[in-house]
């Protein structure tokens, strides 16, 4: 019997962490734990198209928050003889969503796993270069990833003619300068090119014309980290991991932050309920506090209420409830908090992080913050709430250049829906 609580076939993302405890994060140890077995397998046994269809079959959806199927994203990249010689794979490791700290775990604890995942994905897409766009504050992750890359290179997993396949790629870590918008894939590409981190208009889509005008795939750390296990254990196994809890496949790194007993991040079957997360894994709310509401997956998702706790945490279920699963790391708000202050704090973040490209986001968000601040100090005026409501509509999807402002509107619109009275209390009535 294994003495470990997590196994490779139930916790594909994190099973190695327990086994690495106290040991150096070196290549040898990683190799001893199935490390680079997936790469050896694809290079020896699979064509790039095979790997792509495997990932498509596994129904691996983007773990960055949008849930876009990775296989479909990959399938838009030009392949074959006539494809451009230069193609890029970019790992979106600019983890800046408030309340989200899952990618950090994977990169700090299992840098080789991400490196291998990127090489396997790079092989599937036949890229020439790959970049890890890393949040600047993740200093430890940067150090460990760079070390892992150096080791992989020395071992022949990177460079020309990887494992005798005739194909080769380079992998670089690029640390960001601290803008939330760099998490938006086209803004990330602009930033990587040395330009202002403004999102790009689509079309052209990055898969056709991305980094330096060449086909580019941008995937989240967690998304990519699933790839080696899918290669080793197959699509059916991956789909079975959710154990009937969800039509979605695989596990998910879920987490809890806020005034819960044990905040943290856990790898669980996708579709696990928020109640299980909060009460079994996080130990429930701290003493004397009740749950008022919760954000299912970061600051840019709509608030849900305690009554929603039994919903399966997967993309479609949370969507149906009027929110988004986002990153899957929930933020709990307790009954001692002022919801106006919570929302004001979130909006302040979004206003600060607006890139300044489109008018509604650039100028609408700071105004929203100022109105919320007025309401917070009891200085709101009649019409302010209606103005906020109009803002939630006019900063919605399709009306702004990218998804930043619509994301910012999600907590605001749901707070207004669920807690309108709290806002009304901040309005100074005439007379």
């Amino acid at each position: 019997m294994s003495t470990f609580s997590r196994a490779a076939d139930t916790h594909p993302l994190t099973w190695r962490i327990e086994r690495l405890q106290g040991q150096a994060l070196d290549l040898k140890t990683y190799e001893s734990l199935e490390g680079f077995a997936a790469l050896r397998k694809v290079v020896k046994e699979m064509s790039p198209a095979d790997v792509q269809s495997l990932v498509k079959d596994a129904n691996l959806r983007g773990r960055g928050g949008a849930g876009f199927p990775a296989g479909i994203k990959w399938s838009l990249v030009p392949m074959g003889e006539n494809a451009p010689k230069q193609k890029y794979l970019v790992c979106n490791a600019d983890e800046m969503e408030p309340g989200t700290f899952k990618d950090r775990l994977l990169m700090e604890q299992l840098p080789h796993q991400l490196v291998e995942a990127m090489i396997v994905a790079g092989y599937a897409l036949q890229v020439s270069k790959a970049y890890i766009f890393l949040r600047g504050e993740y200093v430890v992750a940067a150090e460990r990833l760079n070390q892992a890359i150096a080791e992989a290179k020395a071992a022949g997993y990177l460079g020309d003619n990887i494992l005798g396949s005739g194909w080769g790629m380079e992998l670089f870590v690029h640390t960001g300068a601290g803008r939330y918008i760099c998490g938006e894939e086209t803004a990330l590409i602009n930033s990587l090119e040395g330009r202002r981190a403004n999102p790009r208009a689509k079309p052209p889509f990055p898969q056709v014309s991305g980094l330096w005008g060449k086909p580019t795939v941008v995937n989240n750390v967690e998304t990519l980290s699933n790839v080696p296990a899918i290669v080793l254990r197959g699509a059916e196994w991956f789909k079975g991991l959710s154990r009937g809890k969800s039509p979605d496949a695989g596990t998910k790194l879920y987490g809890v932050s806020g005034r819960a007993v044990r905040t943290g991040v856990w790898e669980l079957p996708i579709g696990t309920t928020a109640r299980e997360l909060l009460y079994e894994h996080a130990g429930g709310m701290q003493k004397g506090l009740d749950l008022m509401c919760w954000l299912p997956g970061g600051a840019s998702t709509d608030f849900l209420l305690p009554e929603h706790l039994d919903l399966a945490m997967d993309y479609d279920t949370i969507m149906k409830a009027g929110s988004r699963m986002g990153t899957g790391l929930i933020m709990v708000v307790d009954n001692k908090q002022n919801i106006v202050s919570v929302v004001r704090n979130l909006e302040q973040f979004f206003a600060r992080e607006s890139c300044g490209w489109c008018t509604p986001c650039r100028d609408g968000l700071p105004w929203t913050v100022k109105v919320l601040q007025a309401i917070e100090r009891g200085d709101g005026r009649p019409g302010d709430i209606e103005m906020l409501e109009q803002t939630t509509r006019f900063l919605g999807p399709g009306k702004t250049f990218c998804a930043h402002a619509p994301g910012a509107m999600e907590p605001l619109q749901s707070a207004l829906k669920f807690f309108r009275g709290e806002f009304e209390r901040g309005i100074k009535q005439a007379g």
Binding site: C358, T359, P366, K399
Partner: protein, 909 residues
Amino acid sequence: MATIFVDGKPHEVDGADNLLRACLSLGLDVPYFCWHPALGSVGACRACAVKQYANADDKRGRIVMSCMTPSSDNTYISIDDEEAKQFRKSVVEWLMTNHPHDCPVCEEGGHCHLQDMTVMVGHNQRRYRFSTRTHQNQDLGPFINHEMNRCIACYRCVRYYKDYAGGEDLGVYGAHDNLYFGRETDGVFDSEFSGNLIEVCPTGVFTDRTHSERYNRKWDMQFAPSVCQQCSVGCNISPGERYGELRRIENRYHGEINHYFLCDRGRFGHGYVNRKDRPRQPWQRVGQEQKSLAVDDVLDAAADALRGCRRVIGIGSPRASVEANFALQQWVGKENFFSGTSAAKQALVEQALAILQDTPVRTPSLRDMERADAVLVLGEDVTQTAPRIALALRQAVKNKGLVMAAGSKIADWQAAGVKDIAQNELSPLFIASFAATRLDDVAEASCRLASDDIARLGFAVANKIDNSAPTVSDLSPEQDAMASRIAGALLAADKPLLVSGTGCASLAIMQATANIAIALHVRGKAAEIALVQPEVNSIGVALIGGDSIEKALALLESGEADGVIVVENDIYRRADAERVEAALAKARVLVAIDHQQTPTVAKADFVLPAGSFAESDGTMINMEGRAQRYFQVYDPAYYDPDCQIHESWRWIYALHTSVERRMACWTQFDDITQLCAETVPALARIMDAAPNASYRMKGLKIARAPRRYSGRTAMRANLSVHEPRVSQDTDSALSFSMEGYVGPNEPASFVPFAWAPGWNSPQAWTKFQDEVGGHLRSGDSGVRLIEPKNSAQFSYFAGIPGAYVVREGQWQVAPLYHLFGSDELSVLAPAVKSMVVGAYVALSPADAARLKLAENSLVKVTLGNRSYSLRLKVSKSLTDGLVGLPAGIPGMPPILGHCHATLAAAGGL
């Protein structure tokens, strides 16, 4: 074509367009900020939102940005939809949160796109009650004011300046609602095209500083359709006047030439019109005294003096109108008329004209140049001699990107998408020049060669394209390879373009350019050739004919001629000053007709104050051979009854009839133009360049002033309480008044100023166009006089020079041109004057080292029998063996082409 349904009504539109441009082209009003006809769509401001429906039955619809949505067939949209209206109103409300609402003191007020759009969306109440951010402004030099607090962050300035004009020293700094559009530090913009920021900016961040000191609203100015005088391109301008002063130059839309943009020399170089030292009354020199005379008296006195002359010659000018030159020639006769240019320059202009007239290759408009997909520039530094061409070539090199984008199904209007796909890919541009040019950054290759070697490279290219073209012997392997590469690129193109001109002072270079054009024609390519001319009306004078200035001086020197009439020409700029001085001293009578106080005017016995382009009507013929009419902007005598400024042609004719003691048989501009058209076959069509004086729109003259023009009757209150009738313009179809036709409803090519109901900014040009950014509805103005010959009768030029050999002590002079300095008139504008470089001599680093001369040391440069003491500028890019001298700069010799210099350290070497 496609059918789109706007608020239920079907419209035929260009299906390849975006909805915003399609709607504006239909005459529908949709607000916008970040979009600009010349810059395309980026979807930043969100002001052009409309409701789009999936089909005729969809009642729900969704808001889309019209600038980012194709106008494909069966598109259903609503502009009037309530939600779309509210959203657009919100956009203006948002971007106005930090706007200072300082319209009363803002120089943009009255021609402000932001004002127009704010009114259009109906945002009339400020709900924002919180603090606004403030910025420090920058000192951007003598041309442009900077007031960042007014910025609405539409990003047009950086997109124009960097993406369109290729500038580097304007950027956007900061993020979220704390953006800063400016330079890294205070200072003058590097770009030759920075002035367009004034019109590109939808509000008052960038305004015209030359206008600031004597400011007035657009609605309080008189305008006239005019043509820039500062180079041979002939950009259309809209000069604005108040109280007898030219206040500002605005771009006047011309679909084939400048469309939305001017160069800074053209925009800011008009200050010479307002100089206090201009001749305003006629005078006669009596001893050392200048005696002001009344018009009749001066004509009588001058006529008396001229009647006593044995032979009277007339010296015309390439900066004077066709009419002025023609009137002079009519008077003195062909044998006594001189073109007013040096023999060397005249030979260059005549060669250029011959190439345009006799080869089967067409000369392009600027728009045509923008469509070129491979360009070779030989010798001419267009960035300084005809800057607007350089801006056009910057667009031409982007054609490859447009093709690449089209391959990915990205339409040309998707500015950001095109840029992403194109990255650094450019259509081929090759430049051969004496030294670096400011287009080199977009050139596939730039060769720095001496004049003869540039010509040899050109001849070799022609030979590689068509081997029946003359062969160049002894070409170096590198140049041979370059010639092959250039030939290959030109042959691979659909629309190859050759550019050269008279500025490089080499007949051989122009002939080589012609050979390439002919060779491409022989190979079945639709090649075009553009040849830059020295001055605004060089072609016009060349078509009229007349010998060089040297011939005129010889007649004076020999005493054969003793009377001379000089029209709008400072002949000290045309020939050696001492020679001019001596020749003029021998003349019994010198009559100078000019609008500036030149050295020639200072020498004259009689001075007749001419109107500049702002005070006269005339025709200029640009380098394309397009005859263009410019109209008087204002009548200076209305403000100052003592002012006796008149058109040169009017003075000439008055003097002519006075000398001959006969009555004038014509009095109007149309008469002289008509006579010219009938007399000079090459100018037969100049009457077609513009409507004549009897033209009326809806029975009205065209008003020079906007409807809201104020203070007309009080204008002269400081002179007299009487309110005289406004000046009557008998020479043109324009009125000196707000009375007359104003606006875009009737198609017109002659629009004094851009205005349409609700559109006060330059964006109003949209309303005058057949489609946005296309042509004016009644056709772009002017008439092309030179079209290629279809006959097969043409032959290659065969005069291939030998390779340049540096001769010890005999340096070949390379004329170097300067945007500010090389043009005679614009340097007289106070704002430009501060930007003019002083006289200098340039050497390559190797040559400077060999001569042991240090940067800034004084060098004695000897040209012929004249010596100049000049500061040395070591030019990293100048070809070894050449000595670079700035052309046209005060203090420099007048002729720099094909001459040799000797050098010595000043103080003896």
